[in-house]
Symmetry: C2
Subunit: 390 residues, 2 copies
């Protein structure tokens, strides 16, 4: 059997395993070091009581004759699809346009199957799965640099006609959030180019500024050109429980007038078998008033972490964006190599970060700090960052 030739084009290692490898090597060389991770965006705080109780109740129900259920609808349980449409989108999308999944990363992988070897447009820097998954599907890549000079909002004229455009806001890794005007321009350009937008809104609950959009569907015309993916991972700590969703509006069509929603439904029913029914019960509870309130508390906790990290960096004169409406801080170290700065922070501060160049060439000289961590660790890490100034 020949190896799939597309794998030859993949960079050797996925970014986070490489970060983990370097962390492990440092720990082995310095067993006494108390390493703190501000690297991968991994939630650290316990599940909140209302959501936990719903998970427990769901597991208990499965042990009863009356409450047991096997395969559910691959698209997700009706009550959850309805709650996402009604609460998260305030009715701007319909339940039958919502597809519940095991997470945004997995959904992006399946969207890449849906669109196959198209032209794929990604922000640079970007979350690695957009690029790697596109390469595996034989898609050709077009990069849109997001830099300090353009305010991290890319030049849109590079979008080719008939392409698949990935856009993440609040952005991972830069923490930048597109304004309503910027999103309106993006939607207009995607429609003008008869392209499709994959809008990654996995951090939407971290937007606190009321004027900033949390969904692409807040912009007119988005339902005709955009699929949105989202996740329960970061707002309610479901990184390990696994739950997310996507929206494929019925108004979204290919150029021959066929329905994208119908093909996405075919992917969901053919290559997927639904998210865990226990996880879905937890996700549903998060839309109750208690669940909403708990979620705001959890998001607020991590955002206070973000404030502490950003303040520590700014005290050192490091230029930062993000960390105000996103749980990531994008810190600039002009003229430096990202992996070199990563190594310096690990050695001097015993803090793991993510090197910006791992997200794409325009991430060079940047470091991503994640705000996910226990408060005492973040306070300690923020204090240690002062060692960089010496």
């Amino acid at each position: 059997m020949k190896r799939n030739e597309r794998f030859e084009a993949l960079a050797a290692g996925y970014l986070f395993p490489e970060v983990g490898r370097r962390r492990k090597a440092f720990q082995e060389a310095h067993p006494e070091a108390k390493i703190i991770s501000l690297g991968i965006g991994n939630t650290t705080e316990p599940l909140t009581p209302h959501v936990e109780d719903a998970l427990v109740a769901a597991a208990r129900r499965l042990g009863t004759a009356a409450g047991y259920s096997g395969y559910g609808d691959e698209q997700g349980e009706a009550a959850l699809r309805e709650a996402i449409a009604r609460v998260h989108y305030s009715g701007a999308v319909r339940p039958e346009e919502v597809f519940v999944s095991d997470g945004a990363k997995c959904d992006i992988g399946r969207l890449q199957i849906l669109f196959g070897s198209c032209a794929a447009v990604v922000q640079d820097p970007a979350y690695p799965v957009y690029v790697d998954g596109s390469i595996i599907q034989g898609a050709s890549l077009v990069y849109m640099p997001c830099t300090r000079e353009n305010g991290f909002m890319p030049e849109l004229s590079v979008i080719p006609a008939g392409s698949l455009v990935y856009f993440c806001s609040p952005n991972n890794p830069t923490g930048a959030v597109a304004t309503r005007d910027q999103l309106a321009r993006l939607v207009a350009e995607v429609r003008r180019k008869k392209s499709i937008l994959v809008f990654d809104a996995a951090y939407s609950e971290y937007v606190s500024e009321p004027s900033l959009p949390r969904s692409v569907y807040e912009v007119d015309g988005a339902a005709e050109c955009a699929i949105e993916v989202n996740s329960f991972s970061k707002p309610i700590g479901f990184t390990g429980v696994r739950l997310g969703w996507s929206v494929a509006p019925k108004a979204l069509k290919y150029d021959d007038g066929r329905s994208v929603n119908a093909d996405w439904n075919r992917i969901a029913t053919t290559l997927f078998n639904g998210a865990s029914n226990i996880a879905q019960a937890g996700g549903l509870a998060s839309f109750d008033p208690e669940g909403r309130s708990e979620m705001r508390g959890l998001v607020g906790y991590y955002m206070e972490n973000a404030r502490l990290i950003r303040s520590a960096l700014q005290a050192l004169g490091v230029e930062c964006i993000g960390g105000d409406n996103a749980p990531y801080i994008w810190a600039r170290f002009p003229g430096r190599d990202s992996w070199e700065v990563f190594g310096e922070i690990l050695e001097k501060c015993h803090v793991v970060t993510t090197p910006g160049s791992g997200f794409g060439p325009s991430g060079q000289s940047y470091i991503r700090f994640s705000a996910f961590g226990h408060r005492e660790s973040v306070v300690e890490a923020a204090g240690r960052l002062a060692r960089l100034g010496r």
Copy 2:
């Protein structure tokens, strides 16, 4: 945006949604009918106590500061990989060769991404995802008819060199189980053709006859040519909880000597984010002695259903295979169209089945009966089948 042209080649509907559509139409036309489903292989009995308790404990732990965990290893938790290798495979595979997943169907979809547009060889009849997922990846299909004449063990000489060969035993839909000799011949032919075997063992726990193999790795040389997929769905009722695994042996290489395990690991870390940690805790408990014992009880329950269905059919003079070491009975209605027989059984008996032709042309004139159901429903359905003889 153009539609992915590969979707044009897909048959319009996935089989089970079509069965569901016809069931719904019948129910609407006959609201008084008490329909019993022996169609989709969907578990109906409650989770067993030891597994349920483990799921509940896992959910409770996630609500505590000490027990919370976020992202785990994409390949699965170490303890679960170890238990699968040690208990299920009696040490014949190593933990680092095991990849925990959200189910066999999803794993097959990801394996299709791994191998891309290869030649894909499938049994006819076959579980639909082998065919549909292959078409979506641009793979070319070769069919191996499994018929009464060849004892449901296909002619292997048709396997092209360098192809991906899907083989399911115990088989879905036919219920046939390959003997050790038959598997040895399959493995030898796959190796001779420098191909790779995807061995679907999702029903392995339903094998009761000790001489029949439950894993392809019971055959010498399989580790050099075979990936095995398996699932917790049918043995412990996790159809809705979602948990499965695959094995990619380190000894399995492409023709250039590169490691298939390494590329499969790349897929797992790039396009997947691990199975739900709660589900994994339940799966782990199923390997405890109590869990094993409960599993045997659950499998025995469904196998008694299989016996009842098969006896009822045989009393009518219907020729059947399966139902002895597999939870499916493959019933022959010579000279008849499968959908027509499906319709007759639905109308006369108010029993939903699956038409054999939906699994491929060699399934024509067959009906698949699933043994998954409550005992009282199965007893009732088996009784109603007598109406077919009138």
